[in-house]
């Protein structure tokens, strides 16, 4: 994967980014860094490497080499997906709120095992599309077929049955704050399955292990960090073994490290449970890691579709500008985060 070695002001970087892939994570994201930031990063490479290892040991199980996103595995996966059946088929979807027409003509097909990332500016209807798929919002017109059934035509009972096959991960995690983590995970199983207490306990432990949070089983949601809440939200969704996963801004508000963790978690879930996913995000780090295909939503329609690299080279002005804006934003976030981490590490040393 070729990286652009020039920064925005046209100066040439001293070293290619690939030389420090483990420390920065930029080889996965394709994001650029400023010269100053890069030298800062190089100075603290060892410290960060040590720290990352510590973090991974405590919060995230090691990602097996074969599960990491790579061009080869990605193309193999894409070839398999091309043969798959269509699980979500949206045709001419329209939705207005009052006089504001949010979705004008949405058409989208998702194949079994495929992960689609939806990019677009705020308020363009990305989350509304997800909510139409799961039946939380009724469309004004158009078809939303999920596993062959048109969602708006279903009765409440039929919709409930269909929802057991769809997992929805909310932006905030949406954990039930009066229940502990264990109760949060048990809740959908107790209400939708006939599993015994032992079987439920086993499943709860298994999914918590999958998301690397076995130690949080008896905590209350208020005791968890933002990233942990999102992972528990993921665990609560995958515990029902859904066929389709809908992710509503899974990495918003998280630092780059946790963003990468969550993004790899999405890839792992996709590989392990063979689910099809739609990921709504602004985050290019996440998009780059998880997407088989990216669609860009603008003015109530999907204007562009392709792989990350294809869209990066897009001639469409909106797509190009959007990519540049969000990449700049992600780079700033990364720089700020690493600056904060450097300060923290300096403070720790002083202490």
């Amino acid at each position: 994967m070729e990286q652009d070695n020039t920064v925005k002001d046209g100066t040439e970087k001293t070293k290619p980014l690939q030389e420090k892939p483990e420390e920065t994570g930029l080889e996965e994201t394709g994001l650029e860094m400023t010269d100053k930031k890069k030298s800062d990063t190089e100075m603290t490479v060892k410290e960060k490497s040590d720290k990352e290892m510590t973090v991974k040991e405590t919060t995230e199980p090691e990602i097996p080499e074969e599960e990491k996103t790579g061009e080869q595995s990605r193309s193999e996966a894409n070839a398999e997906i091309d043969k798959g059946e269509i699980v979500v088929d949206i045709e001419h979807l329209k939705k207005s709120f009052g006089k504001s027409e949010i979705l004008k003509d949405i058409n989208l097909k998702i194949k079994k095992g495929e992960t689609i990332v939806t990019l677009g500016k705020s308020g363009t209807g990305k989350s509304v599309t997800l909510k139409c798929i799961v039946g939380l919002i009724a469309p004004d017109s158009g078809k939303v077929k999920v596993l062959g059934k048109n969602i708006p035509d279903l009765s409440y009972e039929a919709l409930q049955y269909m929802r057991k096959k769809i997992g929805f991960v909310f932006q905030s995690g949406a954990l039930y704050d009066s229940m502990s983590v264990r109760q949060n995970l048990e809740f959908p199983l107790m209400r939708n399955t006939d599993l015994s207490k032992e079987e439920i306990d086993k499943k709860v432990e298994e999914v918590l292990k999958d998301v690397g949070l076995s130690q949080a089983i008896d905590k209350m949601p208020s005791e968890l960090s933002g990233g942990m809440r999102k992972r528990i939200g993921v665990a609560r969704t995958i515990i029902m073994n859904p066929e389709i996963m809908l992710w509503d801004e899974p990495t918003t508000g998280l630092d780059p490290e946790t963003t990468r963790d969550i993004s790899h978690l999405i890839v792992r879930m996709q590989r392990k449970y063979k689910v099809s996913s739609i990921v709504v995000t602004h985050d290019m780090i996440c998009a780059k890691i998880v997407a088989n295909r990216i669609v860009v939503l603008n003015d109530g329609k999907y204007t562009e579709s392709g792989t990350y690299d294809e869209l990066e080279q897009s001639k469409d002005e909106f797509v190009r500008t959007f990519f540049e804006e969000v990449k700049d934003d992600a780079t700033t976030r990364l720089s700020n985060y690493e600056g904060d981490e450097d300060k923290k590490s300096l403070k720790t040393k002083e202490e």
């Binding site: 905030s172 039930y176 209400r191 609560r236 029902m240």
Partner: protein
Amino acid sequence: MLKSILPKSVQNVFIETWGIYNFSARFFKEVFKPPYNLNEMIKQFFQIGNKSLGLVGITGFIIGFVLALQAIPTLQPFGATSLIPSMVGLGIILEIGPVITGLICAGKIGSSIGAELGSMKVTEQIDAMEVSASNPFNFLVITRVVATTLMIPLLIIYADVIALLGGFLAMNIVSDVSLGLYFSQVFDALDIGSLIGPVVKTFFFGFTIGIVGCYKGYNADKGTESVGIAANTSVVISSLMVIIWDMIAVQITNIIL
């Protein structure tokens, strides 16, 4: 047509009434359907009943005490102090006890349910239950409305008893009356038939407080401001409904008896 004639505030009243009616209809449709969420129901009985005992008890005591104390100087010149226990009993059990306790419960329980469900709505917890096929209406609404419908009558009976004790204390301060004599005079004034109306209306109070609190919380808009609005409007609507139910109950009782 009607929409263009009626002012927005009147339209909103009709919209809210229609919404509460539909919400209540859904409650009756789903109340006997499994799952029955017994653990959650017991939790709500405790939250609504046990945790309101102090407030309801203090209020009831003060009402009974003040009512008797106010009546003494009025009736004493006529030599009618012996009628005070009957008057306090009738006033407390038929009217003041249920209505004041109903209003106190509308404030405490109605706002608490409205705020709790409103905050769950705003933080997408209700949507999360919905998309996991867990039927949040069954889990959140049925349990709370059943708990308020059954617990508020009990709270009202409890408040009535405390209020009568308060009345006795006031009487005992100014005159030498025994507890036995006091209560025998209270119950002499009441017959079983006259108790039916006040008891039945307390179930309506309980149901209304629960259903309005749940309706406002469950249908809260997005944003933290909505939580406050849900809590506030729950109290306003359920308090008003308590008064309206009371008026209807009195009319019906007068017609029947």
